[in-house]
Amino acid sequence: MSEWMRKILESKRETRNRLAVLPFSEKVKILEKLRDRSVSIASSPLRKRPVPVSRTGN
């Protein structure tokens, strides 16, 4: 593993640990924001792009 990648993973771990020790109520607020974003993404028209129909014979 490169030093650069090691630093990225370490940074991610530190962020997770920092979030994990927050009070439950703070974490639930973040969780609610994450949920709202997931719902927005799920309902985005960009996710419902029709599958291109293969055009054979052209």
């Binding site: 997770r16 979030l19 994990a20 109520s25 974490k27 994450l34």
Partner: protein, 172 residues
């Protein structure tokens, strides 16, 4: 979510459900970083009715729909949150519910399963997302290994735990 839990507490006070505990991703969020999840898993026991041995979720749905909540497949939408009520179905879940931790969310009382019980249930379920969550618990240094081993032994999960370790932990 605070309002959702307040409604569930009221259900308990009104005798519709017995004890309850939060499990799943919201339960895990009590110990780990927050997860994106769309629903709340509520494990419940029912008040025993001697005349009716058939376990049914109907009283929960009737109670909530009478108060304006809508249902969506297996969920009841309570104060904007889809809630799935899961009757405890085996001794592990019963124990997890019994030993859940009392806590509060902005002044609203609630109960969350212990980290070790969440891990044991995830191990028993064995889906990829469950294994991923177990790894997060291990990585976070949250677990009491003695307590976890006791739970795994009591519920015949030690072999599965060993297989999990062989598969996922040897390279860590």
């Amino acid at each position: 979510m605070k309002a959702t839990l307040a409604v569930i507490n009221q259900m308990q006070d009104d005798g519709v459900i017995g004890k309850y505990a939060i499990g799943g991703a919201v339960g895990a969020t009590f110990y780990l970083e927050p997860f994106a999840t769309l629903d709340i898993d509520i494990f419940v026991t029912f008040q025993k009715d001697a005349g009716n041995l058939l376990l049914t979720l109907s009283p929960i749905y009737e109670y909530l729909t009478a108060r304006g909540c809508k249902t969506e497949n297996e969920y009841v939408i309570i104060e904007d949150w889809p809630v799935q009520f899961l009757p405890t179905g085996n001794p592990l879940e019963e124990e997890a519910l019994e030993r859940a931790i009392e806590t509060q969310l902005d002044g609203v009382r609630t109960r969350v399963m212990t980290a070790e019980h969440l891990v044991a249930i995830a191990l028993k379920l064995g889906r990829p997302k469950d294994y991923s969550r177990i790894l997060q618990f291990i990585d976070g240094g949250i677990l009491d290994s003695n307590k976890l081993n006791e739970i795994l032994a009591r519920h015949q999960l030690l072999e599965k735990w060993e297989a999990f370790g062989d598969r996922f932990l040897k390279k860590l």
